[in-house]
């Protein structure tokens, strides 16, 4: 099949973009799951869409392709471009612009046959005018009615079609900001495409742009939450490359602004409990039946939240939490360390023990999740206790490994 810049299905490009952007060390030969032809086509597409960000490196294994994007410098998420690449037929685009030209005025309402006649008039000037039969036009109008841009109204037995009313766009500053800072920001980017060119007044720090690739999944999950529905999801296990089907009740999207990951927290009837799914592992979402217990499950989740550090969910809300505490010391001019504890803790309490020391303590379902944060206080930790002895041992062993790794403890490096 000839190469075409646009694509019909987003799934494959979602995988490639993730590989190129997140990793970027694989050579062409390693994309073994797909054909070499497929790889060449996808690489060429990404290069066409995001050429400015695409880089190459020659290695003994071959040429590596990667996307290198400093999201602090890019004031708009470049990955949104991928969402603007849906393919269409010659008829789709011709019909689209002619239909909206005929239905220019929101008060103009026409029947299918009136529209068909008017379309023929528009096309009559071409050497070989396209012919659209009424069923094709009806199908397109129904599609547009689903999208909310065409309204259908019955007068007697006859169906009339007219365009939806004009809706006003907010100021471009609003769109510039929320297209980067709100969930499903790509929709804001679509709206920005409708605005005149303007100077950007916002920049973004600590800005994870990869979530953009999950926008369709997140959007479907939001819709299900709004309608209090179950969904059928296909989820990939990355390590085994296996795909499983799950029926779940989506309850909340839990977003990390420190790791760049997003999770779905959902009640899984098969397990009888709430669990988490990485959204980038969800391949598809299909709406299911309404769930009468939605509010009950959400209340249960709300009860669990104060004992969650990250996304490790308990077997039930009654599962006893683990206790953890650590103490840090700091100098007289380092009071910001106490403020750091206050600012960065997500649960638990911080006590000021003296002018120079503070203690954090918490009861959470999974204390292992807290170790990365606690390690950020290395050089100040004077006490550490955890009711989970394995976690305590892990913390100690990791510290000893770090000493060795950096040639401390007698200079023995790893």
């Amino acid at each position: 099949m000839a190469y075409y810049e646009l694509i019909k299905n987003f799934d494959r490009i979602r995988d490639y973009m993730r590989e190129f952007y997140l990793y970027g060390f694989k050579s062409r030969n390693e994309y073994t799951r797909k054909s070499a032809r497929s790889y060449d086509d996808e690489r060429r597409r990404v290069e066409s869409w995001l050429g400015d960000y695409m880089s190459f490196r020659q290695t003994p294994e071959g040429k590596n392709v990667f996307l290198s994007i400093d999201s602090r410098v890019s004031q708009h998420n470049p990955l949104y471009a991928a969402w603007k690449t849906k393919s269409f037929t010659d008829g789709d685009i011709t019909l689209h612009f002619i239909l909206f030209d005929i239905l220019r005025d929101p008060d103009t309402a026409l029947t299918l046959s009136e529209l068909s006649d008017r379309i023929d008039e528009y096309l009559s000037g071409f050497e070989e005018p396209k012919m659209f039969d009424e069923s094709t036009i009806r199908k397109k109008l129904n599609e547009y009615a689903e999208e909310g841009i065409i309204l259908r109204e019955k007068r007697g037995k006859t169906l009339y079609y007219r365009r939806a009313g004009y809706a006003q766009l907010p100021d471009a500053d609003v769109l510039d900001f929320f297209s980067e800072a709100a969930p499903c920001g790509v929709v804001g980017s679509f709206l920005l495409d409708k605005t005149p060119p303007h100077a950007d007044r916002f920049a973004f720090k600590h800005h994870y742009i990869t979530a953009a690739m999950d926008s369709e999944i997140i959007c479907s999950l939001f819709t299900a939450m709004g309608e209090k529905r179950t969904v059928e999801m296909q989820v990939i296990q990355r390590r085994s490359d296996r795909t499983t089907e799950s029926q779940v009740v989506p309850l909340r999207i839990r977003v990390s602004v420190q790791s760049g990951r997003q999770y779905l927290l959902a009640y899984v009837p098969r397990l009888g409990r709430i669990t988490s799914f990485r959204t980038d592992n969800i391949i598809s979402v299909r709406p299911g039946e309404p769930c009468e217990q939605f509010d009950t499950h959400r209340r249960e989740l709300d009860r669990m939240i104060p004992r969650l550090w990250g996304i490790s969910m308990p077997v039930s809300a009654d599962q006893p939490p683990e206790h953890i505490s650590f103490t840090v010391e700091y100098g007289y001019h380092e009071s910001h360390i106490h403020r750091r504890l206050e600012r960065e803790k997500r649960c638990g309490t911080v006590e000021k023990l003296s002018e120079n020391s503070s203690r954090f303590s918490a009861d959470v379902y999974d204390t292992l999740e807290m170790l990365p944060w606690i390690r950020t206080f290395i050089c100040r930790i004077t006490a550490f206790e955890c009711s989970n002895r394995e976690v305590e041992a892990r913390f100690r062993e990791d510290l000893l490994r770090m000493y060795r790794m950096y040639g401390l403890e007698g200079g023995e490096g790893e």
Binding site: L6, Y23, F25, E47, S55, T59, R72, K86, F88, I93, F97, D101, Y122, E128, K130, E147, G148, I149, Y166, A167, P170, V174, F177, F178, E180, C184, F190, D193, F202, A203, F204, K205, H206, H207, Y208, T210, E216, C219, F222, G226, R252, I253, S256, Q258, S259, G260, L265, R298, I305, R343, C379, I381, T382, F384, E392, A393, R396, D398, M405, Y406
Partner: protein, 310 residues
């Protein structure tokens, strides 16, 4: 549905082409320029022949169009629902022009559908009237390149005054704070939450001959061993930096990250968070910063752990 041709770069490019063609017959050169601006690197290879060969029957051979009006399309339900959702975000109040009312649209998401769980707790006060007033004044000043006189309190409680030309507003999702990026005498960043007074400045400005340098870019090279899913965690965690990764063998990887000099301490503690699965290889000055912290920790080691640890 988000992935739809309605939002595609091709539809946008063709809308621009038709808008121009409604005004005057379009030349090939104009068509090419518009496609270059609105679509992608290779889009011209598709769009130009599709139009000129009349497969997309929208432009006549003489560059005119059978369309009678500039193309327009109403907002889709998805767009209206997203706008409704952001109209419920507390940060919307920062902007002088609120989202237009749309009572018929259900929000795509509500605040209770999303939980940002690791955002710092001392974010900016988006509902505080003084903060909102400062934000709006600064946003307008960024637009108009209008100098400002600003009074702000430092973290140590010291009052500072600045005369600055605002450049940008920078938002950190992690800190949930806005900073004003500006040119002035010596300070490039001012936290909006620390501003106590903000006024338009019309007096003379005498900036120093050597303007304050923008923060220098630095690099750090990490080597990681892929245990505990470290590769994926590290690559995601540092995804927002400019970076390059290289595989050394089946378990070891080397990653070069470029960061801003002002963020060195933050970078240091973010690397420490990964513990023994990530090692700083270079520069030596950065390695020494890590070593220094570890040395201090070693000194505190006595009594750190409960005695009954196996």
């Amino acid at each position: 549905m988000i992935f739809s041709e309605l939002y595609s770069a091709y539809y946008n490019a063709v809308a621009r082409i038709l808008k121009e063609a409604c005004a005057h017959p379009l030349s090939k050169a104009e068509l090419r320029r518009i496609v270059g601006q609105e679509a992608f690197g290779e889009s011209l290879l598709t769009i130009e022949p599709a139009i000129l060969d009349e497969r997309w029957q929208l432009l006549n051979a003489d560059g005119t169009t059978p369309l009678r009006h500039e193309p327009t399309m109403p907002l889709t339900l998805l767009q209206r629902r997203w706008l409704k959702a952001i109209s419920l975000d507390p940060r919307i109040r920062l902007f002088p022009d609120l989202c237009p009312e749309d009572p018929e649209a259900e929000p795509l998401f509500r605040q209770e559908d999303v939980d940002v769980f690791d955002r710092y707790a001392d974010g900016d006060p988006y509902e505080d009237e003084t903060y909102i007033r400062h934000f709006r004044m600064i946003l307008a000043a960024v637009r108009d390149r209008q100098p400002l006189w600003i009074e702000a309190v430092s973290p140590n409680g010291k009052e500072n005054h600045y005369i600055v030309t605002p450049e940008l507003l920078e938002y950190s999702e992690k800190d949930d704070k806005f900073r004003l990026v500006c040119h002035g005498f010596s300070h490039l960043f001012i936290n909006l939450g620390r501003i106590t007074r903000c006024e338009r400045y019309a007096g003379p400005i005498h900036y120093p001959e050597d303007p304050p340098a923008t923060p220098k870019k630095k690099t750090v090279t990490l080597e990681l061993v892929n245990e505990r899913n470290a590769l994926e965690r590290v690559m995601m965690h540092f995804a927002h930096f400019e970076k390059q990764a290289e595989r050394l063998d089946d378990r070891h990887y080397r990653i070069l990250i470029t960061y801003s000099e002002e963020d060195e301490t933050e970078m240091l503690i973010r690397i420490l968070a990964f513990g023994p699965v990530v090692k700083v290889i270079s520069p030596e000055s950065f390695t020494e910063l890590i070593r220094e912290r570890l040395r201090k920790q070693m000194k505190l080691q006595d009594g750190l752990f409960a005695p009954n640890i196996p």
